[in-house]
């Protein structure tokens, strides 16, 4: 470390006689000494330089004048030894008083300079750090904005992936749902084709038939009475199957409008039923929905998004129950808001898990089964609608999610 500022010579340097007499009025000192000694005198430093002289000196007495210890000068006069010694004592008192003053003032000056230099150093350091903070503050807003953008983009991607995951899950169930009616419609059409051939074969015999009895006999032989009846049944069954497919497709379309979802006046009860229809394939055998739907006014909302919330709650209920379970959807108007309760009779959520269920990526399901975002997204959607989700769960008594939505 380099020394801060150490002057070549400080307050503690050796002080010469000349320096110690600097602040003294030498003429008056000489007058006083002459009066005291009664003779001329000569005061010189250790190098023989004359500093004070008055009158003639004939080399009578020469006494050392001491500073701290050693001689710093000599007094010569023609007075008695005792007189000269007394004069030296007085002189040394004056010199010592001056030495005290000089050392103290120089040390004080040195300390003041030091303090001042230190203050300036600190001032400079403060200015530097202030400039740094100012710069930081200047860029802070911009950096916060950038961060927010990044976070929002990430969030959008996450939500998109959650949506895709639930849609994918749904698609599997829907495919199964559609496959079943398509299967029996195709089988019915095959049978119908066979029936048509039998009818055609009978019709070919008509021109050559001798009489009505032969026609009737051929009709009976081909069992065409049954064919006609069954044909009608097949058509009815196929029409109802086609209607079922059409209904599923319509519901799915309603549900999959997530992207184009703007606000519209929607019937929450209809959305609930639609979602349950679409997800029927996934919950069949595990969970039976029960509807206790009250008279509720139309709700201005993003229907597709609320559908996603209801689907999430429904699928969670399906995972929570021991088959066969029951999930109850209950709607009502309470406290000026629309209240939707989804209650299942499953095992309930353990108290240790309960505080974390809305946390992103928190899941109790096995790997690959849940994204850990379902309830997070649901909570965000409900909050975006100005509402909130409450949970009430006791182990063994099932779980109730209550969604409050303001009626605007």
């Amino acid at each position: 470390m380099s020394p801060d500022t150490v002057p070549a010579a400080g307050f503690d340097r050796e002080l010469g006689l000349d320096e110690l007499l600097r602040s003294v009025d030498r003429a008056r000192l000489a007058d006083a000494l002459v009066a005291l000694l009664g003779t001329g005198l000569r005061l010189s430093d250790v190098r023989g330089r004359e500093l004070l002289a008055r009158g003639e000196v004939h080399g009578g007495v020469r006494l050392p004048v001491r500073g701290e210890m050693e001689p710093i000068g000599y007094l010569e006069c023609d007075a008695t030894e005792a007189q000269a010694a007394a004069a030296v004592v007085l002189l040394q008192w004056i010199l010592r008083a001056n030495a005290r003053y000089l050392m103290a003032s120089e040390l004080h000056l040195q300390a003041v300079h030091e303090d001042y230099a230190e203050l300036q150093r600190r001032h400079a350091a403060l200015q530097e750090s202030e400039a740094r903070y100012r710069e930081l503050a200047l860029h802070l807003e911009q950096r916060v904005a950038e961060q927010v953008q990044t976070i929002e983009a990430t969030q959008r991607r996450l939500y998109q992936s959650e949506k895709l995951a639930s849609v994918g899950q749904l698609a599997a169930g829907v495919a199964h749902e559609i496959n079943n009616p398509i299967g029996f419609i195709a089988s019915n059409l095959n049978t119908a084709q066979g029936y048509l051939q039998r009818l055609g074969h009978w019709a070919e015999q008509l021109p050559a038939a001798p009489d009505l009895a032969a026609v009737q006999q051929a009709w009976a032989a081909a069992d065409l009475g049954f064919v006609l009846q069954d044909f009608s049944d097949l058509i009815d069954e196929s029409r109802s199957g086609a209607a079922r497919v059409a209904r599923i497709v319509a519901d799915l379309k309603g549900f999959s409008r997530v992207d184009q979802g703007g606000e519209e006046a929607a019937d929450i009860n209809a959305i609930i039923r639609q979602v349950c229809n679409v997800a029927e394939g996934q919950i069949r055998g595990r969970l039976a929905p029960v509807f206790v739907l009250g008279e509720v006014p139309p709700l201005r909302c993003n229907a597709a998004q609320l559908g996603q919330v209801i689907l999430n709650l429904l699928l969670n209920a399906a995972d929570a129950v021991t088959p066969p379970g029951v999930v109850t959807f209950e709607t009502a108007v309470a406290q000026g808001q629309l209240r939707l309760r989804v209650h299942d009779n499953g095992g309930g959520i353990p108290p240790t898990v309960l505080p974390r269920i809305f946390d992103p990526f928190f899941t109790t399901k096995e790997v690959g089964r849940g994204t850990g975002l379902g309830l997070t997204v649901s909570n965000d959607i409900v909050r975006a609608h100005g509402g909130r989700i409450e949970v009430d769960s006791r182990p063994g008594a099932g779980t109730t999610f209550t969604v409050w939505l303001p009626l605007r």
Partner: protein
């Protein structure tokens, strides 16, 4: 480093008594002034305020002559111990050839001792002294008071340090000369090489210590 003035035939050695406020630095100098009888002894210069606190410094000059005729002058300074006089302390410490750290043995003063010692190390670095090589004696003063740390405890704490520890009751002059002698021995070793004390001036270490810290008969 000791100041050699060839023209005046004089070496000046600066010794500084450092330590927390009211640990007995000035008392050390006053007792040395009473007890020592070196070849030359100046009057003690004190600059105290009305409440006996050192404001700038105290100074006790001592002098000895080597067989070669070289005058060796010792200037013993004290620093003001109060925290706010740090710049003064630093100025007094600058160019020191040796330091006595006067600690207060009372248990309640341990924290102040520690802070003052750290301050000494910092200021030594700031005025360009190599603290690792600086001759230094640690004096635990006020052994006569109740509630002081036991000697074993103090020695155990300073065991790892290279500096000698001396116990004292400066008020009655106990231990102050031993402290100075312990410092002079280190100072001699530190300056002998450059100043040629033994080789040129015929002054051995025991002679140096005895001459400077010789007791009044």
């Amino acid at each position: 480093m000791a100041d050699y003035e060839a023209e005046a035939g004089r070496i000046t050695i600066k010794l500084v008594y450092y330590g927390p406020a009211q640990s007995g630095k000035t008392t050390n100098l006053m007792r040395l002034h009473d007890l020592l009888q070196p070849e030359m002894k100046g009057e003690m210069m004190t600059l105290e305020t009305h409440n006996d606190r050192t404001l700038f410094f105290d100074l006790l000059p001592l002098g000895i002559t080597a067989p070669s005729g070289l005058l060796i002058k010792f200037k013993l300074f004290t620093v003001p111990g109060q925290v706010q006089h740090d710049s003064t302390r630093k100025a007094v410490l600058s160019r020191a050839d040796g330091v006595v750290f006067v600690a207060d043995s009372q248990r309640a003063q341990s924290v102040n001792n520690g802070a003052a010692f750290e301050n000494l190390a910092e200021n030594a670095a700031r005025v360009g002294l190599d603290f690792e090589r600086l001759p230094l004696v640690v004096q635990f003063n006020k052994r006569d008071l109740p509630g002081v740390l036991a000697e074993e405890e103090i020695l155990a704490r300073w065991q790892g340090a290279r500096w000698p520890v001396v116990f004292s009751t400066a008020l009655i002059g106990c231990g102050v000369v031993e402290t100075l002698r312990a410092l002079l021995e280190q100072v001699y070793d530190a300056i002998d090489g450059q100043m040629q004390l033994s080789a040129v001036h015929g002054l051995t270490r025991p002679a140096f210590v005895d001459a400077a810290a010789g007791l009044a008969p």
